[in-house]
Symmetry: C2
Subunit: 306 residues, 2 copies
């Protein structure tokens, strides 16, 4: 029986590339595995897949009765809907420990690094399996994406060494140029509907039984949002109501200025002030230095809800 290797809902490049890379590794060590996904690849992810000539993993939403290896999260809200009816055989991740539980022993490769693919590289090293050129390429891109080309406070020395090693395997000399190419693709928001943009990289969190949705758009220049910011705000307000959420946040991250504009709609008008100590005006605030949802946005929120 094959293991399905799957990342989180609304998959990012780490989830998609990680599923491909880990499924390949598992197959090499004699554990049949199939990479799958829970949603459509983002334009950034599609750029990576095209660049290294991969098909997107198979779309598969139901895992009841199957064996599943979870990539890039450990949260019930981000996992397949029927994960409780599946057997989780492993988790590779780099986030806080979430609320997934199992009834049988499993393997967890979780490290406080910038990207799940950095952990997957450690797994390749542990099993002494050679990384093919094209897989090294997508792993490298996933790390450059998650670490915002090393600018994110989540980036560690392990991530940097890992990108250097993967770039060498992939035969890429200027990996930062590849990273910028990728973020330029990501910055192209022309023609996209507000909902499509809000959902492009969106995660729900259960904070003390409050559902909190947080989206993030990372671009090279925030001016791309000038004409559509009001539409984005209207959409996160709608999303809050539709999902019966306590709060929806949208982070508009300027990777060059290294900060984020935070848009918030919440049942608690003072929430962002409480969490980030910065007053918001009409639900907008500028958070200097904030690039990482995981490290800079989620933990202070959890403190507020604790």
């Amino acid at each position: 029986m094959s293991i399905y290797v799957v990342g989180h809902k609304i998959p990012d490049s780490d989830s998609i590339c990680g599923a491909i890379a880990l499924a390949y590794l598992k197959n090499q060590i004699g554990e049949p595995a199939i990479a799958t996904r829970l949603g459509e690849p983002s334009p950034e992810t599609q750029f990576i897949l095209d660049k290294f000539d991969f098909e997107a993993p198979e779309l598969k939403l139901s895992y009841a009765g199957e064996q599943v290896y979870i990539v890039d999260h450990s949260e019930v809200t981000q996992a397949p809907d029927d994960i409780a009816e599946a057997t989780i055989v492993g988790i590779v991740d780099h986030h806080k420990l979430g609320d997934l539980t199992t009834s049988t022993p499993l393997e967890c490769w979780i490290r406080p690094v910038g990207c799940s693919n950095t952990v997957i590289k450690m797994m390749y090293d542990f099993y002494n399996v050679e990384i093919p050129k094209d897989i090294a390429g997508i792993m490298m891109c996933a790390i450059l994406s998650d670490t915002v080309i090393f600018k994110s406070p989540t980036c560690t020395t392990a991530d940097i060494r890992c990108v250097e090693a993967l770039a060498e395997i992939a035969g890429i000399e200027d990996f930062k140029a590849v990273g910028m190419e990728m973020f330029n693709v990501k910055s192209d928001v022309k023609g996209a509907k507000p909902r499509e943009l809000v959902m492009r990289d969106f995660k729900d969190f259960n904070m003390n039984d409050n559902l909190i949705g947080i989206g993030q758009l990372e671009v090279v220049d925030l001016s791309v949002f000038d004409d559509i910011k009001a539409d984005l705000e209207a959409d996160i307000a709608a999303l809050k109501e539709e999902g019966n959420r306590h709060t929806v946040m949208l982070l508009l991250t300027d990777i060059m200025k290294e900060g984020s504009e935070l848009l918030v709609v919440s049942d608690d008008a003072d929430l962002s002030k409480k969490a980030y100590k910065i007053a918001s005006e009409n639900g907008r605030s500028w958070l200097p230095g904030v690039l990482s949802r995981k490290k800079q946005v989620v933990p202070p929120l959890q403190e507020v809800f604790a």
Copy 2:
């Protein structure tokens, strides 16, 4: 600031030896760490500590505001009472994934092997740190204990290879003899009060909001319990009431006959029948081949409560 490295409540040899071994490793890689414990060492553990000339780790029950590395579990019921006020920086374990969660990224070294110390050996290898002779000795004993000298169905090739490597480092030729010596110590129940025996290796589990306590006593011959079985049964009945538990089980494991006598008091008179398909008489049943609480006793119970 030091990290505290601590195993579960009612510590077994894996928890105590693992805390010592992991704290040493962390100190070697420049992360100051202190091994601690949540309770008294069992006679078996004391035998191991004495044999390799270690003091027991410091008894420490409160961890609010501290950084903690969790050994040998990932369950709230088995963790320090105030773990929610601590920062969990890591988990090394070999059980099912429990309900501990964190608000910040951490490292998890969890593998489906027979003992946490087998995983800690992998950590030594990963960091390329030499294991001192005496630490190799206690790690080896912990693995022999958890795997019942390789007889438990939880035992993997990784555990066996690990014991072989550790025995060589420790300069021990006949590690199975050391294991038997250890289980003979464990089999000495003379003079111990029923409560002391029941609690010697006792774990609480939260199963769908029912509190289930499961104790286990592993001996080389079940006849040691002949005179005290009724007292043990009276005590688990008392323990059930005191702790407002749904069920208390006590496994009397015969490591030579390779099976366990199960004593049960439960709100559900049919529970053990439902879980293990073997009828019980007056709350007693013989479960042939059952040596492992983790792999053979807990999962079928969880199915019943799912």
